[in-house]
């Protein structure tokens, strides 16, 4: 175990898997220079053909990952969520649909690393959090780690998985530090939520960078005598429904915190699921705390209003107790 950052944990996972399996390679824009902090050192260690700087042609290289995977390699794509729009067709028509459409003839072991930048005054064009859209499309596994250890363990699992995985990296977490195992086979399975903090009054399900905020809210609420159970789903497809339902069975109250826009968010899905499958345990309306249904404005004066924070989570928890 060593204490490292979230970014370095991702870097370790990529390096370890590239050492372990020669079929793993990585592509992206200016990644050899380590532009987004995570891919540093790869070009020094691995052959040039395994660390590829691409032209700004996302459709071509995100789709090329499909072709390379279809014939046996294991590509990793490195990009930001906001640049997936231009490659959306390759994500949907090829990556998501190919295995099914061709009757299971082909495996597509691809990891699409999708950084999410928001909350850093980078305005609407660079602040996308599109995980709910991809959840609506069958055929994609969707991961969103919250801690350095999970980042490493889930990324290694993703690289070894035989299906396309979209690996959302919340940039607000990149500098977070934590204990990370050094075991080469440290893998975290998909579909297993992590109860970050046990509690009895209200369940808070929080995604990615929302988790530290939810934990901070829980501390604050504890001071007010409210016991919050904080659940980190870790993967959205598959979703550990049981862990959420079990928690709600105990608390009877649910708040879901999602950095996506509220309408048709992952929070909406979790709320809908619980309102169906956990209905009889609910003792209060389900609260969603998500980004407002508006684009991310640039101005520091406005942007902070748009995404969830501790106060909004606390208020939502209290609403469930009214």
């Amino acid at each position: 175990m060593a204490v490292i950052t979230f970014a370095d944990a991702l870097n370790q996972a990529i390096k370890e898997e590239m050492r372990r399996d020669k079929s793993v390679f990585i592509m992206g824009e200016s990644i050899r220079g380590g532009i987004y902090g995570v891919t540093g050192g790869l070009s020094q260690e691995f052959e040039a053909m395994r660390v590829l700087d691409t032209p700004l042609s996302e459709s071509a290289f995100m789709g090329a990952a499909v072709g390379a995977a279809a014939v046996g390699l294991r590509p990793i794509i490195s990009s930001l969520s906001s640049f997936y729009w231009v490659a959306m067709d390759q994500m949907v028509s090829q990556a998501a649909k190919m295995t099914y459409m061709f009757g299971g003839q082909v495996r597509l072991p691809i990891v699409y690393r999708a950084g999410m930048t928001y909350g850093n005054n980078i305005a609407a064009h660079h602040s996308d959090r599109p995980h709910p859209m991809f959840m609506n499309m069958p055929g994609l596994k969707i991961v969103m780690p919250t801690t350095p250890a999970d980042a490493k363990g889930l990324l290694k699992t993703a690289i070894r998985d035989d299906d396309p995985v979209i690996f959302f990296e919340d940039n607000t977490l990149m500098g977070a530090r934590g204990d990370v195992p050094e075991d080469m086979d440290f893998l975290i399975p998909f579909g297993v939520a992590d109860v970050k903090q046990a509690g009895t009054d209200v369940t808070v399900v929080a995604l990615g960078g929302m988790l530290p905020r939810a934990l901070a809210a829980a501390v604050q609420l504890k001071g007010e005598g409210i016991s919050v159970e904080v659940v980190d789903p870790r993967t959205l497809v598959p979703l550990d429904k049981q862990a959420i339902l079990d928690s709600v069975a105990k608390t009877g109250r649910l708040v879901v915190v999602d950095m996506a826009h509220k309408t048709c968010s992952a929070a909406s899905e979790i709320a809908a699921m619980v309102s169906q499958e956990g209905f009889w345990n609910l003792r209060a309306p389900i609260q969603r705390v998500a980004s407002l249904n508006v684009h991310f404005p640039f101005s520091p004066a406005l942007e902070k209003l748009v995404f969830p924070n501790e106060e909004k989570i606390i208020a939502a928890v209290k609403r469930t107790l009214e």
Binding site: P55, F61, G63, A64, G67, V71, M98, G139, D162, D163
Partner: protein, 331 residues
């Protein structure tokens, strides 16, 4: 001109196989036995056959919605193809793909894509993999004149060019995208002129002449295997049928003249190769008649196989969504 008689005859055989397959498919649509969309390749057979015969068995190929010609040309199994068209579990894709989505990964057929130009990145990715692995395989990527205007064409041709990937971009210019003539939507006289933008060879070929297609693609394949990068081959060709079967009911506008169709029928690729084989004394009329009968029988047998095959069972509906299945909400 090719000396290899066996090859020359095989060209005709594969074209006949595609022709009869598609005639059968059209008939099945008319009879209502085949549901969904069918885009017949009739008239264009020389493009796929000439190109695919220039490939080795372990080379790769991707295609599009006009999807029966490419896999048959590449050596696919007409029984499994026909079963797929009928949505049967013995089909190539267990009935999940249908007419527009044939694929046979075991022989390098990486699939036909219904979204236009969308398979080009897949082709480039397969080529990248061969390069990373140091193999000598090449990839043929078929796409239409209409699809050539998609942005993905630009990205993939440039990517293949800068990385010197072994891709043969085969543009099947049948001169129309549904009702839109290519001269109205392509700014250069020929689509292959665009090769200049990628510093790669661009070759205009008579797409009705299977030998010309074979020769042009062979040259491109040789370049590709030598590590010299991709080529763009434009096969100028023609489709006799509607864009898709049944479309004439909807599109009232006669976008092309009957005389034009009649002219192109005089340049039928099968007719041309048939005559050539006889002229070159590579096959007699009787031998060709035998071959025609054999191919017709092959299609008839494939249809019988397809008809007798079972439909997929309802419980298969979630199968193959993932290679490593996960628990998902199945309700």
């Amino acid at each position: 001109m090719i000396e290899d008689k066996e090859l020359m005859v095989e060209m005709l055989r594969r074209m006949l196989c595609i022709r009869y397959f598609d005639e059968q498919a059209v008939e099945l649509v008319q009879r209502g036995e085949l549901v969904g969309a069918v885009h017949a390749y009739i008239g264009e057979e020389a493009v796929a056959v000439g190109a695919c015969l220039a490939l080795r068995d372990n080379d790769y190929m991707t295609g599009n919605h006009r999807s029966h010609g490419h896999p048959i040309a590449k050596g696919g199994d007409v029984r499994r193809a026909m079963a797929e068209l009928l949505g049967k579990s013995t089909g190539y894709c267990k009935g999940k793909g249908g007419s527009m989505h044939l694929a046979d990964f075991s022989i390098g057929i990486l699939g036909e894509s219904g979204i236009l130009a969308s398979a080009l990145p897949v082709a480039v990715g397969a080529a990248l993999a061969t390069k990373i692995r140091g193999e000598k395989r090449v990839v043929a990527a078929f796409f239409g004149d209409g699809a050539s205007n998609e942005g993905t064409c630009h990205e993939t041709m440039n990517l293949a060019a800068i990385w010197k990937l072994p891709v043969i971009f085969v543009c099947e210019n049948n001169q129309y995208a549904v009702t839109t003539r290519f001269t109205e939507v392509v700014a250069t006289p020929n689509i292959c002129d665009r090769a200049a933008a990628y510093n790669i060879p661009g070759v205009l070929v008579d797409g009705q002449d299977v030998v010309a297609m074979y020769e042009a693609v062979s040259e491109a394949v040789e370049r590709a295997r030598l590590g010299l990068g991709p080529s763009l081959i434009e096969g100028r060709t023609y489709r006799y049928q509607d864009h898709s079967e049944g479309l004439r009911r909807i599109v009232r506008d006669p976008y092309r003249a009957e005389e034009e169709i009649a002219y192109w029928r005089t340049r039928d690729p099968i007719l041309l190769q048939r005559n050539r084989l006889m002229e070159m004394k590579m096959a007699s009329e009787a031998e060709i008649a035998l071959m025609e009968a054999a191919e017709r029988a092959r299609i008839a047998e494939a249809l019988q196989f397809a008809r007798q095959s079972p439909y997929p069972a309802p419980e298969e509906v979630f199968d193959d969504l993932f290679s490593n299945p996960i628990p998902i909400d199945r309700s």
